[in-house]
Subunit: 319 residues, 2 copies
């Protein structure tokens, strides 16, 4: 069975994103490398527009909509980075976005999304099924739903992170990628395996929601219970359907990290590498720090940096 | 009278630093730019080795020492970024460094400097004259003193920050640069005026030590009283002699910023631009934020990012 996306889709996404998205820098620390005995290449995609890789997939999707779809607008449910990403992508492509957000979402996230011109509609996360709401809204208002990860154009756009990394850093032994729904990892796996087949690809998910680890062990998508975690961008009960097809075919391994490991990585990134990462954004670095990713030349995707100064201080125990 | 350095010195420094120092990225935020009605280009030199621009000047100096000088080693007094910069430069060039540090310097700074292989000697900042100590030590042990800013090779190395910025971003109206002793600003002024004569150059110092503002008003170097400030990298009572010659000739204007303005800039940089800056490192961004630097295309030097998570949280009032 063909996979939902292939290398050409990621390459076309890169062409669409050229001049619109940032080509984010690869940050290195030779001093840390010498002490650790390995070379790390940190793809700092928190420096992407809206502060996370999500802009890539959202823009790659909205930019491909036809005239009629653009006239109708786009809709999604998200309290996180996909909300801002879709809001900005819609504004840049001359269409409008409606975002369903839980009524208890932080005011700052709502304000940021509205700041990009989107309409925010609240729902009750305990009473309402957000997927049902979103789909009904799309049908009723003639809008196009843009799923945050189970959508080939979103996956291909996210894959440009991996594409840029292997273009900028040849001969990587392994690339470690944060894993939630699977949009980022599936796109990166297609790009990395396409351009550099010998490079291993490792996904990293929080131990609070090990849905990919358990699904891979079972050989099929399973549901897990979600425990509390600071890694709010990766807490999903089951793999996305299309990402799962790619990840179960192409990814070499999925490992988990604890919240404390993520905290250590956030502090190391801040104090030694001078890079900001939100918890989910630091998860792949945490797996390397904890010794769960082996290789001499290790690519590490830092997927996002959307964390307020207060929340950052709180997570690191500075308060 | 010829100036202590000229464009060729900065260009030669850039050649020496190629492959050794990082060519640090220029960070932009189109959303912030659209709201402010100006385009800002942030030269993120906190991503430089040792976390600050100081590595450039230290390495450019040590790399030019003759065999006899290298055999003797280098010495400086610094409790800040110059200490780590000189320690790393010495290690890379196969020589040794001795750093005089005040006995009340933070343990983390001492540990970082020793981590690069330097010998740290403590002095009493209330009893001892550090310049006298350093000079005596150099003479007694046959070592070469590397002044943190009043040294042409240090100034030329620091100037590569400005060189890279105008190479990467053409047609800047103005470049804003943090100003303490004057090594960074003097080097950047030579580079910017040499490559892009129409670009204005503005220095930014804390209002707690307005030695350059007052010296420029007086037409000669004057001494000022230093007030307490979070901008610990810029608190000097009088301009450096050689930097003064350059700055009084080439720099268009020097402005001051308050600690609160610097705090606002640090928070904006963290939350919106995803860039870490220590207080002195954020001072030029603070001047732009406060409306003290005008232009449509504004280059801003972020000079350093050496701040612990705890200190960062404390400065921003998150504790």
């Amino acid at each position: 069975m063909p996979l939902p996306i292939e290398l050409a889709d990621v390459e076309h996404a890169a062409a669409r994103l050229a001049g619109v998205a940032h080509r984010t820098p690869v940050v290195t620390s030779r001093t840390l490398d010498e002490r650790a005995g390995a070379n790390l290449y940190l793809k700092a995609d928190g420096l992407q527009r809206i502060g996370a890789f999500k802009f890539r997939g959202a823009y790659n999707t909205v930019a491909q909509l036809g005239e009629a779809e653009r006239a109708g607008g786009v809709v999604a449910s998200s309290s996180g980075n996909h909300a801002q990403a879709l809001a900005l992508a819609a504004a840049l492509c001359g269409t409008r976005a409606t975002i369903f957000m839980p009524s208890d979402a932080p005011a700052s996230k709502r304000a940021a999304t509205e700041g990009y011109g989107a309409t925010v509609v609240e729902y009750d996360r305990y009473r309402d099924d957000r997927d049902v709401l979103t789909r009904a809204h799309a049908r009723e208002h003639g809008m196009t739903e843009v799923h945050p990860y189970d959508e080939p154009r979103v996956m291909a756009g996210a894959g440009t992170v991996g594409l840029e990394l292997v273009q900028d850093v040849p001969d990587l032994d392994v690339v470690a990628v944060p894993l939630g729904g699977g949009g980022l990892l599936s796109g990166c796996a297609v790009a990395v395996k396409g351009l550099s087949p010998a490079t291993r690809v490792v996904g990293v998910e929080p131990e609070a929601s090990p849905d990919y680890v358990q699904s891979l062990a079972a050989g099929e998508r399973v549901q897990v219970e979600i425990a509390p975690s600071i890694c709010d961008g990766q807490l999903l009960p089951t793999p996305g359907e299309r990402p799962w097809q790619v990840i179960s075919s192409l990814v070499d391994e999925v490992v988990t990290v604890s919240d404390d490991e993520v905290r250590d990585a956030m502090r190391l990134l801040f104090e030694r590498c001078k890079v900001i990462a939100e918890p989910s954004g630091a998860s792949a670095r945490a797996a390397v720090l904890a010794g769960r990713v082996s290789g001499n030349r290790i690519g590490v995707v830092l997927s996002g940096a959307n964390v307020s100064a207060e929340r950052f201080a709180e997570i690191l125990g500075c308060t």
